[in-house]
Amino acid sequence: MFHKVLIILSSALTVASAIGVLVTKDIVRACIFLFFSLFGVAGIYASLGADFVAVTQIMVYVGGVVILMLFAVMLTGGPGKESAGSKGYLLIPMMGNKITFGFGIFSGLVLLLTMAKITKSVIASVTISEVEGFASTVERIGSLLVSEHVLAFEISSILLLGALVGAAMIARPRKNV
């Protein structure tokens, strides 16, 4: 019962907030909807028995990426700065029009049908097993990371260092702009 309630709640939160990101006009509200959506995704991971991934999701996305995005919104003039640009349109983060939405829905349908076609045999063959009492995944993930996936693990550290230095270099204020 617990498990099903968790699945339904986190799925509803994820999907509803993702749609909220799409329909809201305010960029800060979009960030907050993103926060709720990512939180729901963490709940989905937990319902799949992936406790370590769920907590990492909360740690990195909720505590890091969302705050980073809010900061970027604030450092680039804030959400409500309305001023006509050189080309005449309002320079606020604005929504698309009917054509873009129509295109989005159409491509979504095509993707859905394609995916359903591809995954049909896999889904049919799956045997659904119950969650085996939330066994711990931390130790096994740790040993996998330093044995089979050690190359990707080490490269990701270089990637993060490069991102850190690169972001600091790019965003550095320069006088001769």
């Binding site: 799949l48 450092l75 680039t76 983060p93 604005m94 929504m95 993707l111 859905l112 996998l144 990707a152």
Partner: protein, 101 residues
């Protein structure tokens, strides 16, 4: 009811929403938000397949790397947004036309 198809469906909804956000919105930050949604939709698939199909933990490693890459991408992307704002004083995507001519 809550089998593989349920999770694939959620991942699919997230992916499509992300694509639509990327297409429909004109702010660069909103486009980055769309990218985050797409990455999450993909990551759900990995964990769902590892639970229902392969039953090992390799599917848990991939979301971790996706999260790492997404964090790096968000940091660099937002730095570019801030730099772009310093030059153009807007973060409207249609203003990024320097390469046209």
């Amino acid at each position: 009811m809550f089998g593989l198809a349920w999770y694939l469906g959620i991942g699919f909804v997230l992916f499509c929403t992300g694509i639509t956000v990327m297409i429909a919105r004109k702010s660069i930050v909103a486009i980055l938000i769309g990218i985050e949604l797409i990455l999450n939709g993909a990551a759900i698939n990995f964990v769902a397949y590892s639970k229902f199909v392969t039953q090992d933990l390799d599917g848990h490693i991939f979301p971790l790397f996706i999260i790492i890459v997404a964090a790096a991408e968000a940091a660099v992307g937002l730095a570019i947004v801030i730099r772009f704002y310093q030059i153009r004083e807007t973060i409207h995507i249609d203003e990024a036309t320097q390469l046209q001519s």
